[in-house]
Amino acid sequence: AANLTLLADKGTIRVGNKYQAEIPENVKEEEEDENKENGDALVIDEEAQEDAQEEAQEATSQDGAHRKMALTERERIIFHPKHSLTDQEIDQFLIIARAVGTFSRALDTNSSTRFPTLHMVAAAASRDVTLFHALALLHQAKYDLGQAVRYLCPPCNKDTYPFEAEKATGLHTTSLGGPILCRDQLEEWSTAESNLFEEALEKYGKDFHDMRNDYLPWKSVRDLVEYYYMWKTTNRYQESKKQK
C-alpha cells in the first residue's frame, strides 16, 4: 500500500519489545512428520461446525469410495474439487441453477413485473450470486447432482434445505417451498431506490455514510457499496456519466 499523497515517508525500522513480534519457541514440525495423524489436525466432532465437518469428511465419490477431507477449526468449507463429477457435469448443474433462477423470477411477482425482456431475466438469473450459491449447495449435497437439484427446489420444510450453504457463502436465499431465488443488490433495488441513489451520489459523491443517512436509511452502508460497484456496470451509470 502507499500513502494517499504519494509523498515519500521517512520511516525507519525500529528495534524493541514494542516493535518486534514474540516468536513462539516450540516447533511441532518434527513430531508432525513422524505421526501426522496425531498432530494439530482436528478430529471430526467439533461441535461448532459439526455438519460442515461431516460433509467435508465424507466426500463420497460415485463409485462408492470415500475420500477424507480434513478441516481446521479456522474455516468453513464452501467447495472442494475432490469429487467424481466432471467439469461438464458441473457446467450442466450451473445451467440448471440458472434455469431455476429464471423460473423462480417468473413465479416471483416483483421480479416478473420488473424485467422488460425474457433475456434480462435469464441474465439476472445468471449473475454470479446464483452460481456461487449453486456451488455451495452442490457441496452441501456431497456432490450428488440429484441431491443438489433437490436443494435448488426445496419443499416447504426447513429440514430439506442446507442452511449451512448460506453460512458458507453469506448469501440470503429466499423462502422455501419453490425454486430458490438468489438476488444481489443490483436486483434487490427498486427503480425508485436507484433514482434516490443517483440523486444522492450527485449531492454527496461516494460518501456512502451520509448518503445512507439522508437518502436511503433502510439500506446498510454495505448494501450501498455493493450496489455502487454493480451500478457502475449498468447503462444507468453510462448515462449519468454522459450527463456530466
Binding site: A1, A2, L6, G11, T12, D40, E75, H209, V221
Partner: protein, 386 residues
C-alpha cells in the same frame, strides 16, 4: 478453456463474501472491492471449482493480539466514524485518520483479512494443502501498535507466527512496489523468519528498505531488501528475482514460504511506478512454487483494481497449474475490463531507470549479505520439474 500440466498442487483458497463491501472512503485508492472482482473472475474462469474454497472464521481479538498490542486492537475495535471526533489523541497515537481512515467496520475488515491468513497458515501447518491463497490478506505495512499505508492489522505477521509453530524457518517474500516494512520490523531481530522485499526505493512510501538494512541482533542478515527504481519491466525483474530467491532458498532452506503479491508493482497502477505485466509478476509465484515448499499467497497493494483482479486471478491459475484464456469470461464486473476485455495487460512505454549495471551491482551486494548466513546444508535446494 484449460490444459493441464502434470501433478497440479492442492490449493486452498480463502474468501469472505463480505470483504468487498468495506469502503475506505471517498477518493481513497484502497478498494476492498477488488477482492470480490477477483473472486467473481475466478468463478467464471472455472478456477473456483478446481480449488478447495473456504470461508475463514474471523480472527478474534486474542488472536490478533498475538502480535498487536492490546491497546491498539482495543482502539480499532471501538473506533467508529460517529465516535472518532472524541478520540483524536488516540487516533494520532495509532496513526489512524488520513492514509488509514476510520471507516465502517474497520475492525471486522481486519478480522476477515487476518482470519484468512491464519486459516491459510493452519492449513499449511497441517499439510492439508500445498498452496494456500488469501487475497484479502497481505497488509504488510501494519505495525505492532500503529496503522500504516492503508494497513491496520498485519495478517502476514500473524500467519507467520502461526507457521513458526510448525516450522523452524519461514521465508517471507514481498513483491509489492512498497517496502514490506511491517513484516520486516516484526521479525527484524530473529533468524527464524527471513524477509525479502523487492520495492521502489527513494522518495517513496514508506521510506524504509534500504539495501544496507539487513536485520539486527540474531536477525542480522535475515532481512533482505532489493531497492529498485521506476519503470522496472518483466525481464529485469526476473533477472534479479530468480537468482536472488534461488540463493535465498538454498541458503535458508525454509519450511514454508509466504509470498506477498502486492499488485501495485504492475504497470499502470494508480499509485505505482513499475512497469510489470501479469507475466512478470506471476513469474515470481511460478518460480517460488516450483521448490515444492508449502506456499502461502497473499494480496497486498494494488490500486488499479481491474488489473489487481486480473493479476490475482492469473496467479491463482498459476498456483493451480491451469492455463486460462486471454479472453475474459463474462462476469458481474465485466464492464470494468473494457475496452479490450482481455486478461493480460501490456507494458507502458516508459524508461526503465533500473540499469543493468545498477541491478548487477545491487545483486552482488545482496549476495555478499547472503554469504554471511550460516553455511547451507549439503543438499542444494532446487526448483522441481521443468
Amino acid at each position: 478453456l484449460f490444459t493441464y500440466r502434470a501433478m497440479p498442487k492442492k490449493v486452498a483458497y480463502y474468501y469472505d463474501g463480505d470483504c468487498g463491501n468495506y469502503y475506505y472512503g471517498q477518493g481513497h485508492p484502497m478498494k476492498p472491492h477488488r477482492i470480490r472482482m477477483t473472486h467473481n473472475l475466478l468463478l467464471n474462469y472455472g478456477l473456483y471449482r478446481k480449488m478447495e474454497v473456504y470461508r475463514p472464521i474471523p480472527a478474534s481479538f486474542e488472536e490478533m493480539t498475538k502480535y498487536h498490542s492490546d491497546e491498539y486492537m482495543l482502539f480499532l475495535k471501538n473506533i467508529r466514524p460517529d465516535n472518532m471526533s472524541e478520540s483524536s489523541k488516540q487516533m494520532a497515537r495509532f496513526n489512524v485518520g488520513e492514509d488509514c481512515p476510520v471507516f465502517d467496520g474497520v475492525y471486522e475488515f481486519c478480522q476477515l483479512s487476518c482470519g484468512g491468513s491464519l486459516a491459510a497458515a493452519c492449513k499449511l501447518n497441517q499439510k492439508q494443502a500445498d498452496i494456500t491463497i488469501n487475497w484479502m490478506g497481505g497488509l504488510h505495512h501494519a505495525k505492532k501498535s500503529e496503522a500504516s499505508g492503508f494497513c491496520y492489522a498485519n495478517d502476514i505477521v500473524l500467519a507467520i507466527l502461526e507457521l513458526l509453530k510448525h516450522h523452524q524457518r519461514v521465508l517471507y517474500v514481498d513483491i509489492d512496489i512498497h517496502h514490506g516494512d511491517g513484516v520486516e520490523e516484526a521479525f527484524y531481530t530473529t533468524d527464524r523468519v527471513m524477509t525479502c522485499s523487492f520495492h521502489k526505493y527513494g522518495e517513496y512510501f514508506p521510506g524504509t528498505g534500504d539495501l544496507k538494512d539487513v536485520g539486527a541482533d540474531k536477525g542480522r542478515y535475515y532481512s533482505l531488501n532489493f531497492p529498485l527504481r521506476d519503470g522496472i519491466d518483466d525481464e529485469s525483474y526476473e533477472r534479479i528475482f530468480v537468482p536472488v530467491m534461488q540463493r535465498v532458498m538454498e541458503s535458508y532452506q525454509p519450511g514454508a514460504v509466504v509470498l506477498q503479491c502486492g499488485a501495485d508493482s504492475l504497470t499502470g497502477d494508480r499509485l505505482g511506478c513499475f512497469n510489470l505485466t501479469l507475466r512478470g509478476h506471476g513469474r515470481c509465484v511460478e518460480f517460488l512454487k516450483k521448490f515444492g515448499v508449502p506456499l502461502m499467497l497473499l494480496g497486498g497493494g494494488g490500486y488499479t483494481i481491474r488489473n489487481v483482479s486480473r493479476c490475482w486471478t492469473y496467479e491463482t491459475a498459476v498456483a493451480l497449474d491451469t492455463d486460462i484464456a486471454n479472453e475474459l469470461p463474462y462476469n458481474d464486473y465485466f464492464e470494468y475490463f473494457g475496452p479490450d476485455f482481455k486478461l493480460h495487460i501490456s507494458p507502458a512505454s516508459m524508461i526503465n531507470q533500473n540499469t543493468r549495471e545498477y541491478l548487477e551491482k545491487t545483486q552482488i551486494r545482496i549476495f555478499e549479505h547472503l554469504r554471511e548466513l550460516p553455511a547451507a546444508p549439503g543438499v542444494q535446494m532446487q526448483p522441481i520439474g521443468d
